[in-house]
Symmetry: D2
Subunit: 361 residues, 4 copies
């Protein structure tokens, strides 16, 4: 129950503290015989690394060590074949500067899990936030990159920054997705991207930080995935996405805005020719995929670690003035894209495997 | 895996189709010796019943039949004592008019789970939406009413309508909660309530419907509840809330709006006297309760069943013109309040029990 | 966690106390479109009823009320089609004589769960043993009868009494299974059967009781079922069988006796023609079915409720002399056969569904 | 579902193939603040290593690398304090001679999981048996050694060889447990021990092998542990023990022999002074611990890898003559003792944590 496992039949368990020896995971339930391109995993991890002015100066190599679950002989394309047994992996923690945290040992940083971990466990590893650090999400990205390969080429999981530091990008329906990776902040609207970079730079200089909204799209999901009642596809996706550090909200399709509409506007009814062009539901009806694109928006709070002076409590309730010295991002949403996609891919892959059991053979 | 069970150590399994013999559930994990007032359950179910002009004319008695898990002898206050064994219960389905659905048998109603259930299972019970009907939530309300009693008087779980049919209520911080039940639509801002009632009546007359936003507040949750990483308290709450019929989004604390702020604004730092007055986090930091009120907003799409003419597909891809004749609400959010609270209470009770295992004895 | 659910993707949850209103269950995960003959369920329940001199005089009607999960229209053969949603059912408790237990309320019956339930929960329902009564197994038999139908005609799950009251039947390989139901005690060796009946009658007259050993055979299981490591097929089967009231041991294939053999004797190696005639493994190698018959023996302790005088403790540690007056079997193994088969069928069906996810599509 | 996780709230997930880079595990649910002596883990692993004439010549260093879940600072006694987060660890595979298996690649060794893995997954790692090798149990021993420390000094988990190669030791009630580790084969009856050693040597010389029976005893378990119905304490223990490689049977208390007795003999009734001296139930009544010693016997089949000539099938159904050349034990039960104890300790620790949630606070 201890909350370190995600998924029903396709299950990821992660482990590791930010400044411990390593972080890693065990992915159980990968069907035997899946050909896995491990360099595609490295590419996903590279997307998670800090980039440009917005990122933390902490540099992690993030070399994945594969420990189990793969046939020793690669196939003709250099891919490793899954054995059906658990795929375990780890990434060593490097370049940790635990001394940065020494001064903070007794103080609870606002916005961080320090006070709450202390309340939960009665003790904690203060170095780099320990288990509560987003360092853990590297393991999610590894597993998500494998999940994407299980989903195969017919399914596309992609995300981009739709809003950051208060600056909105254009509507995703107008995006040229190819431009996303030209943006330093993962935003396909390059004009908005530039404005975001500037505003984040301004905030960073002021010792402050920013949050944002990620747009997620999953194309090619066949209809009928998800489990009725408690494990509706968007409920499990919501669980997955809300479990990412700093996420405070999630909505599907028209989401909050859609609640103002009338039923006749919101219902994705067919046109006279039988095609359904509207997608206010965001690809999920009654909790099950309906075959149209699954769309979601995910809200990230601004980064809690800021360089300017803040009040903070210690365990005795005394107030201290602190300035957080560690190496931190001023905006995390660009680095969050592969994490968002990883959680989405894990969720859809799990649903896809469960769907194999729904009908009488 | 079939998605009809919610919770880890405090677990609700529900069953039942809308027009089958009954709906019901099994609540497993209620600690032995909990004194349960069963008439409080009836009171919660009464809140779920259709009321006023906005509600469906279908009238359900909703008498709970208790089947197991309770000591045969009531205590001095008429309460039943839990045995520690599963508490099973059922509610008979009455006043069903399945004939209303006969004409719809072959057509997939827009916004409903008809087409998606057909895709998932290859067949379905068309009467009243079968398992996909919100009738199932009666079982959640029963279990939630027991969960509230397990939480006890130190925890308050309450919700109200914050917005409906495009009309916003005042900020929840200004509400007099006692007024909520004077509102026909569960909105403590009685002026907004009146406007909502009028707008919903107008839409209903036009053969249309409305959606809305529910505000949820959980007071008195001790710090440290929730499980780090995948089962963060708000991730599990989000899962719980998104699993309610018609919910398309959920946010905690400042949620989507908070993503525009800077870290210095968003961090709930203490004042000089050590008290923390701000609650932009919505009572959850790093995925664990922080001792302040847990706050959330839940977006419900407009009711899909509308009396006006719509296009609809059948299984062969042919387009039909349909007018939904059944008895339906034009606005469901007022009836959703006890369901929202039930899911919240189930989640917090589960987290509370899990917390008993977190520290070395 | 509260232990009232069995299975991973094909899951039975049971509920109910012996003298409460009813016992019942929820079977989740039955693939949609499975045609179910409900009168076959009644037939299995009839096998569980007390028969002949060995049985309790308590007579239960055991009429199953089907509550959900079945399409309302039967098929041409009168079978009900599963919807893919949870199948809930209940059986009313009748003919309960709770007064029999009034005198026992404060005393812990030797061999029963009275003292241990009291230790676990701090209270209990003393009437008929409450939740600990074998009455609960009626729900298992219902679900097992459905599981057998999911397995279909290619799989046979059958069991018989191999030993009782110290009297051994002939080797199962020599049995004519058709004779089993001619035996009052479910033993195909009719000579042994007669001796068992006599010895049980003798013990009953002496106010005493008997135990026995059930032989279980599962034919037609395809190779590869089961999950390596912790959920080996025989480990899960063992869990299933040991969870039946009064079971104290289980062995597969040659079991305990096989541990004396040498590897060359025990290995089920092929003959020169490639056929494998020996089955010391009992159909499971390395935790996975090997395609040969799965065989097991299950040990039941003698019935604890005896009419002769025994010492018994109360909650204060005082010793009382008791004579158990209720209506009880002097031998339960014949009635246990459908329960053993039910647990076996549930286990194999669960493994069969899980196997659908093991290979890349 | 993929069967690599054991436990409900105290959960071990293992991973790793015999000749892959490493084997390891993740133990989730260790309460925060538990002081853990890591050298006690090494001591348990040392008990699992091959010893004497009966053991395989493969020598493994078995150095545990601790990856997460432990506070960086040891306490005054050199113990590491658990953080409440998952404890991950690995052991490198060394001294693997995969070439031994090259010749076997296409042949299914009798008694091994070769054919069944092939049937399940469609492919396998043939080197050293891959995932099906008992190498995996090293991870169980690590986790079990931590579980023993969580149970604390009031609980004793111990096991010894009660029978091997057809030679029975004296009754466990007569044992001097201190002698067990003087026996080369883990048998406190040193006379029997000598006879076993001789008989195993004889079989090994003949290119053959032996099996045996392990006696397990758990002292100090408080009454009330276990979950009624499906997760009875002995059902879960049985699951745990049957999941160990080569185990074919398990019995509790008097087990199979007890089924011959009458109820008046088998019931563990109190004496006139209120003390219960008999323990035919083996410490578990009605599925819950009763406070007396938990006793079990576990049957291990003879080692399947034998040096003498056997028939074996290949994937095409052709018969081959094989002689297994690898380095193998002729008797595994002595090395199985720490594994048996590990599974028992994991089970009891899980039950103990679950018991914290059973009563109203």
């Amino acid at each position: 129950m201890a909350g370190n496992t995600f998924g029903n039949v396709f299950r990821l368990t992660t482990w590791g503290e930010s400044h411990g020896p390593a972080v890693g995971g065990v992915l159980d339930g990968m069907p035997a015989g899946t050909a896995l391109n491990l360099s595609a995993v490295d590419a996903e991890l590279a997307r998670r690394k800090p980039r440009g002015a917005a990122g933390t100066p902490r540099r992690e190599t993030d070399a994945v060590e594969w420990l189990s679950g793969l046939h020793p002989e690669p196939d003709a394309h250099g891919r490793r074949i899954s054995l059906g047994t658990p795929i375990a992996f780890l990434i060593r923690n490097e370049n940790t500067q635990s001394a940065d945290y020494a001064a903070l040992g007794e103080v609870f940083r606002p916005g961080h899990a320090d006070a709450t971990y202390q309340a939960k466990y009665g003790l904690r590893d203060v170095r780099g936030g320990g288990r509560s650090s987003a360092r853990e999400t590297a393991a999610r990205v590894v597993a998500g990159a494998l999940a994407k390969q299980l989903l195969g080429p017919s399914v596309t999981v992609r995300s981009a920054v739709a809003r950051a530091a208060g600056i909105a990008a254009s509507d995703p329906s107008t995006w040229n997705w190819a431009l996303r990776d030209q943006s330093e902040v993962g935003c396909p609207d390059l004009e908005a991207s530039k404005a975001i970079v500037d505003e984040v730079a301004r905030r960073r200089q002021a010792g402050d930080s920013a949050g944002g909204i990620v747009y997620l799209e999953i194309l090619g999901v066949p209809p009928g995935l998800g489990e009725p009642v408690f494990d509706k596809l968007h409920a499990v996706l919501g669980h997955a996405l809300l479990s990412i550090n700093a996420v405070k909200g999630v909505e599907f399709g028209d989401g909050f805005a859609g609640s103002d509409l009338s039923g006749s506007e919101h219902n994705d009814a067919p046109d006279a020719d039988g095609s359904i062009r509207q997608n206010r539901e965001g690809g999920i009806t009654g909790g099950l995929s309906n075959g149209r694109p699954i769309t979601a928006r995910i809200a990230f709070k601004p980064v809690s670690s800021i360089a300017s002076l803040q009040n903070a409590l210690d365990a005795d309730g005394q107030v201290h003035k602190i300035e957080i010295q560690g190496r931190h991002d001023a905006l995390v949403v660009p680095r969050a894209l592969p994490i968002v996609e990883a959680m989405a891919a894990l969720t859809v892959a799990d649903a896809m495997l469960q769907q194999r059991m729904q009908k009488h053979a």
